[in-house]
């Protein structure tokens, strides 16, 4: 019995001894045998205090090395631990604050009037929602009636925790993969930007080897520079510094790429409180970044931007504007035909709030926007939200959920066009050092297993009939769009060509956008939001245009098309398929959607007034030979009649129906038959 008593005594008193730590001041009496060390520690402490006393939270981190040196000597000073914790909360390494803040609280619960707020915050950052709420409420209870701002701040945090509790009930399923040492270094690597097809990534890095020599005075680290990597199969190539003129002296950061990868927006923090610049890819070299102009850049802070899929609008983040709703807001500026940025318009609620918004990213589907906000619905700091443009209005933003969002800042998140992969930077996981870039694969709702079940449905049927019951498929819903990419070359010489790619809405007969292929690689990249009949014309002076047609159903799943285009010179014998000439079913009546293609043909004939062409029409093999011959003959005549009516002399045009005699594909499949049904023109003489 006596033995048991001692065991119990030990069990119950050990924790008391362990946790009943005393606050230890930096005084001689507490360190009688360590005078020199004490002197050194007090020196470090004072240096840290000098920075602290500036009362500018953004410079608190500079005090950390001094405070840590002092804390190494005396780990049990409540105020020192408190200050180290608070300083860490101003950095990317907020997780380190936990040990110091909780220790400060244990050493002296009255160390500072805000200790319970910060204790709440460190629990909050660890998603210990209930403990965080308790501390925030405890802090709120200490506030007087006049401290309305502080009370609102505490209540906002409590609300964030409550949202966190709800979202944690249905976490988003994801794989998170470090993109690897080809991109990440032992320094901070962040702000990834990618092309729509995920083939190229630019990012910002604090690693050595940049354009600026020396170290930043702010944190004694190399300056920010933009680095680039391309995808080789499934692996990224070793990142290389994008070099001058994009990277200049001091800090340079990547902000966004245009969907076709030909334009880059950069950020320079030294200009007017932070301005945005644009650089264009000319062949293999980027031009010197130019400021985006007064419509975009102000005395305030412009921090993030994203092009619309057609490159005609720029969404960006700015502060301190007259029409701002508070903090950083998202604006849009239309880019005129001449490339001028027009007056910026605040996107307004529900996107902009009295809190900060940042990290705007427009999906290439033309209607989905991702952005970060500290406003309502966040679980702490910036959270990533999604909204879509429907009938001219932005839908109520949706929090992307846990673990995509964390209680810390989640910002500068970019999604690949397929909607399944996202890239973001984080320091919260064990990586290569500092912040690393991660690829997040969104898995969608949990996939339910499929069971075999059997029934004997008919009484007289002894043989069981296998009856597979399937669960409703659950999967991540990808963006409804297509991505078209390829290389443009000269058909005969195979030389790389820089050509223009016109994107038309055939139904409305309007030019949606014009893109250019890269002059050095011939590569092009065009995004096609779902729900339209697209006419695509690839053109270059001295060559015949090449046309393609894509009808992207409104409910089509994400798909990538690779279409290499070999342009033909304007010479006798050249044949071009006119993919955007449409007829009524089984008739020779030209449909209105054909107008853009016919206009291109008229333009070609006008610019080359001596050429004579044959308009040939072809059918698939459905129907009798005789019928098809007649139908194709009538269709070719319809096109010729249209051209004559538009002023092209009849003696330059020959109509010819080929029926089903010259297939270019199989007639056994829908796709093959569609390819066989076509209108072509052939140059007969120049």
């Amino acid at each position: 019995m006596k033995k048991l008593f001692y065991i119990l005594l030990t069990v119950f008193t050990l924790p008391l001894f362990n946790f009943a730590q005393q606050n230890v001041e930096f005084e001689k009496k507490n360190f009688p045998d360590r005078k020199d060390e004490l002197k050194e520690a007090i020196k470090e402490l004072r240096e840290g205090d000098a920075i602290w006393d500036l009362q500018q939270p953004n410079v608190y981190p500079v005090a950390i090395p001094h405070y840590l040196a002092a804390q190494k000597f005396n780990p049990n000073n409540a105020q020192l631990n408190y200050r180290i914790g608070v300083a860490y909360l101003q950095t990317h390494e907020k997780g380190k604050a936990y040990d110091y803040i909780t220790k400060a609280y244990n050493l002296n619960p009255a160390v500072d009037e805000k200790i319970r707020f910060y204790t709440g915050w460190v629990y909050h950052l660890r998603s210990e929602w209930d403990k965080a709420i308790t501390e925030y409420q405890g802090y709120a209870a200490t506030l007087g009636g006049k401290q309305k701002e502080e009370l609102a701040k505490a209540n906002k945090r409590i609300e964030e925790c409550r949202t966190g509790i709800e979202l944690a009930k249905n976490p988003i399923r994801v794989f998170i993969d470090n993109v690897g040492p080809e991109i990440n270094s032992s320094y901070s690597d962040y702000s990834p930007v990618i092309t729509a097809d995920e083939s190229l990534m630019m990012f910002t890095s604090r690693r050595p080897g940049g354009v600026s020599s020396g170290l930043s005075e702010e944190d004694n680290l190399p300056y920010e520079d933009i680095w680039v990597s391309t995808k080789n199969g499934k692996k990224w190539t070793n990142a290389r510094n994008i070099g001058t003129p994009v990277n200049l002296e001091l800090h340079n950061a990547a902000i966004c790429l245009s969907p076709d990868g030909q334009k880059l927006i950069t950020y320079d923090g030294a200009k007017q409180g932070g301005d945005l610049f644009i650089s264009e890819l000319m062949g293999l070299t980027w031009t010197k970044p130019e400021p985006l102009g007064k419509a975009i850049n102000t005395e305030g802070h412009e921090s993030s931007a994203s092009f619309s899929y057609d490159g005609k609008d720029l969404y960006f983040v700015s502060t301190d504007r007259k029409d701002g709703l508070g903090g950083h807001d998202i604006y849009v500026s239309h880019i005129s035909e001449k490339g001028k940025f027009e007056k910026a318009v605040n996107l307004g609620p529900p996107i902009n709030t009295p809190y900060d918004e940042d990290g705007v990213y427009m999906m290439p589907d033309g209607k989905t926007m991702y952005y970060s906000s500290k406003g309502p619905g966040s679980i702490g700091g910036y959270d990533i939200f999604k909204t879509t443009l429907e009938n001219g209005k932005w839908t109520q933003p949706i929090n992307m959920g846990i673990p995509i969002n964390t209680p810390d800042d989640d910002v500068f998140f970019v999604l690949a066009a397929n909607g399944r992969h996202a890239f973001y930077a984080s320091a919260s996981m064990k990586g290569y050092g500092g912040q690393d870039i991660y690829r997040l694969t969104i898995l969608g709702p949990e996939k339910q297993p499929l069971l075999n079940t059997e029934d004997q449905l008919l009484a007289m049927a002894a043989n069981p009939i296998s009856n597979l019951k399937t669960e409703a498929a659950v999967a991540a819903t990808g963006p409804k769009m297509a991505l078209l990419k390829g290389v443009i070359t000269d058909e005969k010489t195979k030389e790389i060509l820089e050509a223009s790619i016109d994107l038309f809405d055939n139904e409305k007969n309007v030019l949606l956008a014009t893109f250019k292929s890269n002059s050095s690689t011939g590569r092009y990249l065009v995004t096609l939001p779902a729900g339209r009949n697209y006419g695509i014309a690839v053109r270059k002076d001295g060559y015949l245009f090449h046309s393609e047609n894509f009808i992207i159903d409104i409910n089509a799943d994400y798909i990538e098309y690779t279409k290499d285009v070999a342009l033909k010179k304007v010479e006798v014998g050249s044949v071009i398929v006119l993919r955007n000439i449409f007829f009524d079913f089984d008739k020779a009546t030209i449909r209105p959607e054909s107008a853009s293609e016919l206009d291109r043909l008229i333009k070609l004939l006008t610019e080359n007034p001596t050429i004579k062409i044959e308009l040939g029409s072809h059918t698939d093999s459905k129907g009798s030979d005789e019928y098809n011959m007649k139908l194709s003959d009538n269709r070719s005549k319809s096109v010729v009649d249209y051209l004559i009516a538009k002023g092209i002399p009849a003696d330059r045009l020959t109509a010819k129906g080929y029926g089903e005699t010259k297939p270019i594909d199989t007639n056994d499949t829908d796709e093959g038959r569609q390819n066989n049904r076509r209108t072509e023109f052939k140059i007969l003489s120049k």
Binding site: F175, L450, N452, L457, A459, A473, A475
Partner: protein, 350 residues
């Protein structure tokens, strides 16, 4: 199915004629000799000695060419011997002799079934029903034919007529229920299965069907109860046990599901479905390596088990075997599991 129809054909013929065993006099006239041979033929037929049966019926018919019963039973024996042309000829003779004989047309329909001539079978059934609208069996078999053709609405109409002609026709209720299920009329199906059970409570397969209908209707507790009753009637009925495991898993009881699938494997060690069930349990438990192993076993036992490929794809995805998972989902689609298509679209494009 075919085997069953042959059995039915015999049963039906015996029931028609066995009570008509003819009395034989001591001084035999040709008719009497015919009757004697007829009785001998019938005995052989009952003993599945078709060749001898045909011989006796032939002797009987030689002595009495208009002996419709001998002709009918010879047709039955010829059908059993797969001599369909001769069987059909005999039944046609019967029809000529008795043009309004609905039963003869019904027998003819069964001969056509065995011959695989569904169109002719339907014509014969229609003729039978035309002569006797209350011929419950003919309507029932017409319903069966419609069901097999995927014409569920017409099947229900035929089963309705069968039930109208024979109110306690339990099998017709079961089959009508299955046709209603095929038309997504689950509440109608459940009512019919329950009616079939009320008429004959000893048919395990009807309880199994009822369980499946409840499962489709998302009433999982009732499904589990119905599968359990099927197992009470026939403890060896592993189909119901497998189904109960599936329902239990869907009802969130992975432990009971696992027990059922393991029990199935005790009864039928090479049951691919049960291994796939264990793979499903493992997926629910997030034991992906086990899920992969179990679904692999299911595939080894049945290479056409599409759901097993589907499940192995899920397991491989979570094990980060990305190429393997996509290959499995493609195979599942090839095997008719259309649900895998969306995974290929969303998860298999880099």
């Amino acid at each position: 199915m075919k085997k069953l129809f042959i059995a039915l054909l015999c049963t039906f013929s015996y029931s028609l004629f066995s009570q008509d065993t003819v009395k034989v006099a001591s001084m035999l006239t040709p008719d009497q000799q015919a009757e004697l041979d007829y009785n001998s033929g019938l005995e052989k037929l009952k003993n599945n000695d078709y060749t001898s049966a045909i011989d006796f019926f032939t002797k009987s018919i030689v002595n009495k060419p208009t002996f419709d019963k001998a002709l009918t039973n010879r047709a039955v024996a010829l059908t059993q011997a797969k001599r369909y042309v001769e069987a059909c000829s005999d039944i046609n003779t019967v029809i000529k002799l008795t043009p309004k004989n609905a039963d003869a047309y019904f027998t003819k329909s069964l001969i056509f079934f065995n011959e695989g001539k569904k169109d002719s079978q339907l014509v014969a059934l229609d003729k039978c029903i035309g002569l006797n609208p209350n011929h419950a069996e003919a309507s029932y078999y017409k319903g069966l034919l419609m069901y097999e053709n995927g014409e569920y609405k017409l099947a229900v109409e035929s089963y309705n007529k069968a039930i109208l002609a024979k109110a306690d026709y339990a099998y017709a209720y079961n089959d009508r229920a299955s046709a209603k299920r095929a038309m997504d009329d689950l509440s109608g199906a459940i009512a019919d299965y329950e009616k079939a059970i009320s008429l004959d409570a000893n048919q395990a397969f009807v309880y199994n069907n009822l369980g499946s209908a409840y499962r489709e209707n998302k009433n999982l507790p009732k499904a589990i109860e119905s599968f359990g009753k099927a197992l009470q009637i026939n403890p060896k009925y592993f189909i119901a046990q497998n189904n109960r495991g599936a329902a239990a898993l869907e009802n969130g009881n992975a432990k009971n599901a696992q027990t059922d699938f393991e029990e199935v494997l005790k009864k039928d060690p090479n049951n691919s479905s049960a291994y796939n069930g264990l793979a499903s349990v493992a997926i629910k438990n997030k034991e992906y390596q086990k899920a992969k192993d179990m679904s692999t076993k299911a595939i080894q036992l049945n290479a056409k088990n599409g759901p097993a490929y589907y499940n192995r794809g899920i397991a491989k995805q979570m094990l980060r075997e990305e190429e393997g998972c996509c290959q499995d989902w493609k195979k599942a689609v090839e095997l008719g599991v259309s649900a895998a298509k969306s995974f290929i679209n969303t998860d298999c494009s880099e």
